[in-house]
Amino acid sequence: MEKILTLGIETSCDETAAAVLRDGREILSNVISTQIPLHQKFGGVVPELASRKHIVNIMPVVDEAIRTAGVELSQINQIAVTYGPGLVGALLVGVAAAKTLAFALKVPLVAVNHLEGHIFVNFLSAPELEPPFLSLVVSGGHTALIKMNTYNEFELLGQTRDDAAGEAFDKIARVMNLPYPGGPEIDRLAKTGNPDAIDFPHPKVADFDFSFSGLKSSVLNYLNSTSMRGETVNNADVAASFQRAVVDSLIDKTIDAAENFGLSKIVLAGGVAANSALESSLRAACDKRGLKFFYPTKILCTDNAAMIACRGYYQSLAEDFAPLTLNAVPNLNFKGAAQ
């Protein structure tokens, strides 16, 4: 049987990305144009600037993905695009371009949830991975535990009740005057700090839900009161202790859920999956209990379009296609979550 070529397009935040996938798992190209330097001086992503960059970058990025893949645009069988969650103006550039390409090439369009894409990226870095498994999704805007039964059937077990883990990282990095993006900076700083130096409260929430706002406030209070007393803050110790509290809370819930539902495979996903302490601690916790641990390669942790194409491919197997009236849904969540 002829192999299916999927073109993926992703513009939900500050990366313009396009990728070509052969069938579900073979990456032919994965092009990412990052805007991080553009937003750095503002200390965060400026939505209007991100949208302005996407509209300039979109065609060169798609074109490079097609060329690098060594295929012709006319050979593309279907187009998968992120329609949420993300910045509305940014999403709309990708959605408009993808819809129009699908129309012009007379191929089906698949609307992909960015969060599901982060889980599916693991199929690209681990060819042997198959559902069922438990996935911990940790990104700038979301923290969730997902039980994946089949490629197209998920259950949301729990998620954050307030701030996402990534949000807490970013906020604390900003208060500590670390450059944007803050998450990797805290990770780097934490390597030289003592995680037992400061006893930040570990969040306690029922079921498989998370909460990080209390922890965030307590770190901010610590930074504030230390500087009020005229003492020097040991940034490395703060970063390490804060990171330890976040990581412990994520791991406890994940292991609980795996045991509760009898799942033997744990899949880490989302932008914060690039955090080295989270990766190594979750790996160690899994090893100790004989659970199999899966984790995407660094480049696949960041927003990319290969994961969108991969998710889109599996949706297409269930004939889950989108109409040309598709709109962006900036606050899209996992299915089953209260919006």
């Binding site: 503002f42 990708g94 408009a96 819809k99 129009t100 040309l324 009236t325």
Partner: protein, 238 residues
């Protein structure tokens, strides 16, 4: 150009207009307007624009076009990007030319006369408008951002008849000078057929845009940039 895109040897141009609340698409063939669909409804362009294109091509009885002309702005930042992303993807997929048409010029094309001055005004937020003066379809002033009432008042000092167009006419609070008139409803807002016709001039003049780097005419910078520069200025003055 491949033979199947050309109908009776005439060049087909698709016009796309999404700079304001109006979503409008049209197909022209040399001297004929084959089809146009315009709507000023509350639906978002993201949902309506592409189905409108599908429909207008069907009505025109063509599968494809030879060039796509798109309204570049100024106007709603998001609307402009939806229009441009759509135009770019069509140009890229069909390997056809893309033509970037200034929105105010496309509105002024409603009045091909040198006996009156046309002032298309489009919403630039905070009671201001993007404005430029046109006579016989050609610009006779710079494109500026000015308070709506100031535009209306100062139009009184222009010689001869002046027509005000655009989407901010309801915000004018001052009495209009005697030589200044509000354009009739059918000639007020941008329409895709004007964009396509202006695109034809660009095509004939060889002014083809580059699908790889074409940007909207924003005129205004983002609020974040303006704020950042004001802060930099303040701190350097300290």
């Amino acid at each position: 150009m491949s033979a199947r895109t050309i109908r009776g040897g005439n060049l087909l141009i698709l016009g796309i207009e999404a700079a304001t609340r109006v979503a409008s698409v049209a197909v022209i063939s040399e001297e004929k307007i084959l089809a146009e669909i315009s709507q000023e409804a509350r639906l978002t362009h993201s949902e309506t624009l592409l189905p409108q294109i599908e429909q207008v091509l069907k009505i025109a009885g063509v599968e494809r076009v030879d060039a796509v002309a798109v309204s570049l702005g100024p106007g709603s930042f998001t609307g402009l990007r939806i229009g441009l992303a759509t135009a770019k993807a069509l140009a890229y997929a069909w390997q056809i030319k893309i033509l970037g048409v200034p929105t105010l010029q496309a509105i002024a094309y409603h009045f091909p006369t040198s006996s009156a001055t046309v002032l298309p005004m489009l919403d630039a937020q905070k009671n201001r408008a993007y404005v430029q003066a046109f006579r016989a379809g050609a610009p006779v002033s710079k494109l500026e951002v000015k308070p709506v009432d100031e535009i209306a008042t100062s139009a009184g000092s222009i010689d001869g008849e002046v027509f005000l167009c655009g989407d901010v006419l309801g915000k004018i609070k001052v009495p209009l000078p005697p030589n200044v008139k509000i354009a009739p409803v059918n000639l007020r807002m941008p329409r895709a057929v004007n964009v396509a016709l202006c695109g034809k001039f660009l095509l004939d003049a060889g002014e083809i845009s580059n699908v790889m780097n074409l940007e909207p005419l924003y005129v205004r910078r983002s609020e974040a940039e303006e704020l950042w520069e004001r802060r930099q200025k303040l701190s350097s003055e300290k």
